[in-house]
Symmetry: D2
C-alpha cells in the first residue's frame, strides 16, 4: 500500500442524497476526481467531511467506498473523531478494519482534559491500533490547543507519526517543526489560505478543504514550493485565497460550517463532480443567491466558464 | 411509569471494574442506594456518568441496568450526548428502546453552530423520538450557551419539556423561569452548590453529582425548600458546599474531572456503595493521599464515622 | 462623614453637554435626585459613569461636584480605574484629595496579571492611600476574575474593606461571603437583575446602574430584603428586571454600552433629571425610535405617565 | 525629520531605578545603543515599554528623552494607550507636543466596543492630532481583534498610516496586505519569532521587543529579507527564536510580562546597556537563578562571552 509521505491530501467532502443518505456514486466520482488530479492521499471523515454529523455507519461506509476506489494507489487517512479515549479507540478499530492507512485523532473534547491526559490519550490510541497516528490540532472545535512540547514528546516516543495543524498558529507550527526530533514525522497544514507559508516553514503536506473543488490549484502550489519557486507558490496561493472567499457566501443567520461546507458542495455540484449540495442536519442549506455567488467565485478562479 | 415532575434526580456515576468494564453489581447497588434514599428520578449517562468516555455499548447497558432496577418506580432520564443531530438521534433511539422515560440532549458541539441551527437540532430530535426532551445547557463542555429566548421558543412549541441548567448563570435561569409560558416545563439545576438558590428562583428540581454520595442531603434541602423553610435549606446547602470541596482533592496535574469524578467514586467506595473507584481513560486515578482527603470530607460532613 | 455600611449606592451616570463637556447642573440635579430618594451612598466614576471614556480632569470634577452636593450626608465612593498599580495609585491620590470616602479599584487590565500580582496590586494601593478600598470584580472589562481566595486573603489582612461584584458569578460571591473572616467586610452586588438573590445570600448592598433612573425601586427592594420579606423583594426585582430591558433598545450595530448607558441617560432626560442624553465618544447615540422604546419601558414600570 | 518608512523599530524598554523612577541616563544609553546599531525608528511607550504601568508624567518624560537623543535622525513613534477615545486623544496631544513623529493607538479596551465604534475611534484620534496614526492590534491586551476590513477602510480614507500587528494572526495580516489600497500604508509585525515570515508576506517593518537586546540580529534579518535572501533571514530568525526563550525564564507564579519584560531588562543590564533590571509594580522581579538563565541565553546567542 502507498506510504504516507506528505503532499496534497484533501479532506474529502461527504456527498449526501436529498434525504441525507450517503450518495455512493457521487463519493466514488469525487474520489476519482481527486485521484485523477494526482493527489498524494485522501483524508476521509474529517471536519470538511462532516464527521461531527455523520452516524458511525455512514463514517464506516465512506471509508470503505473511498478505500475501495483508491485501491492502494494512495494512502487513505481516516478521521477517528470522538469525545474521549475509549470512544476514539472504537472509531480507530472500525477504521483499521475498513482499510485506513493512517488515523487522525483530536485531543478529547466535551470532557475537560489536561495536557498530561492528552499525552496518555494518544498513547493509548496508538497502543490499541497498529496504524500510523496523526494528531489533529483544531482548537476551534476541541477548545484545547496541543502544546508543541506535547507533540514533540509524542513524536519522539513514536506515538505520533504526524500532525494535522488546523490551529492557525504558525508560530507554534514552526516550533513543532523545529523541535520534533524524528525525520519521519510529517506536519500537514489544514489551512487553505496559508499553505505556501506552511510549506516554506518546512511543513510536509497540505489538507485543504478547498482542495475538493480545486485539487489542481493546491497541487500546482505544492509543486512550486517543492521546486523552491516561492513566487509561483505565492501567486497560486493568492488565487486560492480569493477563491476561498466562496466559504463566506452565507450571510444569513447560519453557522460558519453551513456556509463553508455548503459552498464546497455547491462548487462540486457546479463542477459536475457530485450530484447534490445537501449538507447534514442541522446545517442551513444555501439558497439560490448563495449558490450563484459560489458560481461567480468559480468563474473568477478559472474553474468554470461563464 | 412514574412521571417526571421535578425533585432530586442524581446524575449517576458509572461504576467500572479495574479493567474498565461496566461493574453491573455496583451499578445495581448504586441504583438501590439512591432509590432507598427516596430520589425522584435517576439520570444516567450524564457528564458525572462519564458519558463522554463511555462507548455506546456501555451507555446502553447502563440504561438497561438502571431501568431494570428502577422498574418504573421513578423515571429514568438518559443523556444522549453526541456531536450533532443525526448522531444524537441515533443515541436517542437507542435510549428509547432501553427504557428511558425522558432524554437529555445538548446543543451540537465540536461543530460550530448558530442559535438558529440549535433550534432546528432540538426540533428534529423531538420529532424523531417520542419521549420528553430536556435541553442540557453546559457551556463548559459545549462552548455554546443556550439563549433564554431559544429555550422559551422551544418550550412554547412543545419541543422541550425541560431544561437541565449546568451553565452557572442564574440570571439567565431566572429569565427562562420568567419567560417560559408552559406550566409543564421543568427547570433543573445542575449545580451542587447553588441548589437552594435555584429552587428559590422557582426551579423544579436538582441534578447534583454530589447526590450520588449524599442523596439524603439534597432530599432534605429539597424538602426544606418545598416547605418554604429557606433557612433550613440554606443550612443544608452550606453543609453540602463544604462537602463539595472533595472535588478539589486532586492537586497534581490533572483535569477537573479526574479530581471530581474520582472523588465521587472514591466517596461511593468508602461509603460501601460501589466496589472500585476506577475512572475512564484518560483520567488520572486519585492516589492514596487524595482518597484520604475524600475520606476526611465524608467524616466532616457526617457521612462516615472516623 | 457618613460611614459606608451597605445599602443602595447607585453608580452615577455622568451627564454631558452635547459638545461632551461635563454638565455640572445636571450632575448636581442627579445627585439631589438620588439623595432625596434616600440612597445610602453614591458611587462616581464607575463603569456606568463612563469612567473608561472620561479624561482625568472630568473624573476629578465629577467627584468634586458630587462630594460637594452630598456634603458628608452619605459616603461618596470613587472608581479609580486604570491599567496597573502606579497609574491606579495616581487616580487614588487624586480621588482622596477630592473628598472620596472610599475607593473602588479593579485588578490590572490591558497588562497580563497573575493572582499573586493582583494581591500585591491591591496591597500597594491600600498602602499608598489611607482610605477604605473595595475590589471591583468585573471580568467582562478586566478579563480576569478575582478568586474568592484572593478576596478572602485581602479581607483578612485589612487590605480590602469590601467587594463590588459585577462578575455575575453568584456561586463565587457566596464563597466570598462564607469565607471572609471579617465582620466589617462589605459585599456589594453590581447586578441590576439579581439584587434580591445577592441580598438573600448575605450581600450588604447594591450598586445598580438602573438605580439612576429608579432609586426608589432598589430602595424598596432593599428594605423588603432587610425586613426578611423575600416575596416583596422578588416582586420588586421582577418589576426592575422588566424595566432593565430598556438597556437593550439599541438593536443597530453598536456596543452593549452604547445601548445601556444611552438608555440610562435617555431615561434620566425623560424623567426630567438631566438635560442631555449625550454619551462619550465613540459610543453610538440612541435615535428617536430607541428613545421612544426607553419611554415605553418607563411608562410600563410606572415611572412615567403615558 | 526622518520619515517613517518601515524597517526595524524596537519597542523600547523603559529603564527604572530601584525606587521605580525613570532612569534617564539608562534610557539615553539605550537610545544610543539602538541608534548606533542602525535601527530605522524608535517606538516608545509600547507594551514592552511598560506603558500600561507608567504614570502619564513618566510616559511624557520617556518620549522627551528619546526624541531628544534621536534628534530627528530617526522617527520616534509613541504609544498612546488608554481606554477610550477622549482619553487616547489626551495622550495623543501630549505625545504630539513632545516630539512624536507618529502615534500608535489600540482599539478601546475595558469598555465594550463594536467594530463600528472602533472605526469612529480611530477617525476621531486622527482628526484631533495631525500626526500619522498607526493602529495597534494586540488582542491579548485589548480583547478585540481589528478586522482586516476595518483596517482596509481606515487605510483607504487616510485615517491610518499603518498597522502594528501583534495579533499573531498571519492569515489576517496577509489579508490586510492584500486588501489595503494605499501604497503608503505600512504594516509592522510585532512578533519576535515570525519576523521573517511577515516580511515574506510583504510586511514593511518589525517592532520586536527582543530588539532591545539584539537590534543587530533583527537588522541582519531585515537586510537579508530586503535582499531576498530568505535562507539567511530564516537562519537569523532561528537564532532569534532560540534567544527569545529567555522570556520564559520565570517559572514561579508570575505573569507572562513579569518574566518577559524582566528578561529583556536583565539582558540589557548584563549587556551593559542599562543599570537596573527593575520592572514596574505589581510585576514580580526575576531572582538570581532566573537572571542566570537569561545570561546563558545571551551566551548561547553569541551576545555575551561566557
Amino acid at each position: 500500500m502507498a506510504k504516507l509521505t506528505g503532499g496534497v491530501i484533501p479532506p474529502m467532502c461527504t456527498p449526501l442524497t436529498p434525504p441525507r443518505e450517503l450518495d455512493v456514486p457521487s463519493l466514488e466520482k469525487l474520489t476519482g476526481h481527486l485521484l485523477d488530479a494526482g493527489v498524494h492521499g485522501l483524508f476521509v471523515t474529517g471536519s470538511t467531511g462532516e464527521v461531527g454529523y455523520l452516524p458511525d455507519a455512514t463514517r464506516h461506509r465512506v471509508l470503505e467506498v473511498v478505500a475501495g476506489v483508491a485501491a492502494g494507489a494512495v494512502p487513505v487517512l481516516a478521521g477517528v473523531i470522538d469525545t474521549a479515549t475509549p470512544r476514539v479507540i472504537e472509531q480507530a478499530r472500525a477504521a483499521a478494519r475498513r482499510g485506513a492507512a493512517a488515523l487522525v485523532a483530536t485531543a478529547p473534547f466535551y470532557v475537560p482534559t489536561h495536557q498530561v491526559e492528552i499525552r496518555s490519550h494518544f498513547r493509548q490510541i496508538r497502543a490499541a491500533v497498529d496504524l500510523p497516528l496523526l494528531a489533529y490540532d483544531i482548537p476551534v472545535s476541541v477548545h484545547t490547543k496541543l502544546a508543541p512540547e506535547t507533540v514533540a514528546e509524542l513524536a519522539a516516543d513514536g506515538t505520533l507519526s504526524g500532525l494535522k495543524d488546523s490551529s492557525g498558529d504558525l508560530d507554534e507550527q514552526r516550533a513543532v517543526l523545529e523541535t520534533v526530533d524524528n525525520a519521519e514525522f510529517l506536519v500537514f497544514s489544514g489551512s487553505e489560505t496559508m499553505a505556501d507559508t506552511s510549506l516554506g516553514l518546512g511543513a510536509h503536506g497540505l489538507v485543504p478543504g478547498l482542495g475538493n473543488a480545486d485539487p489542481h490549484g493546491y497541487l500546482r502550489l505544492h509543486r512550486a514550493a517543492t521546486a523552491g519557486d516561492w513566487t509561483q507558490a505565492a501567486a497560486e496561493q493568492a488565487r486560492l485565497r480569493r477563491l476561498f472567499r466562496l466559504t463566506q457566501v452565507g450571510s444569513r443567520p447560519m453557522s460558519r460550517y453551513s456556509s463553508a461546507i455548503g459552498a464546497f458542495k455547491a462548487a462540486l455540484v457546479q463542477l459536475g463532480v457530485i450530484e447534490h449540495g445537501t449538507t447534514s442536519e442541522p446545517m442551513i442549506a444555501l439558497d439560490e443567491t448563495e449558490r450563484a455567488a459560489v458560481r461567480r467565485h468559480l468563474v473568477e478562479a478559472g474553474l468554470l466558464q461563464e
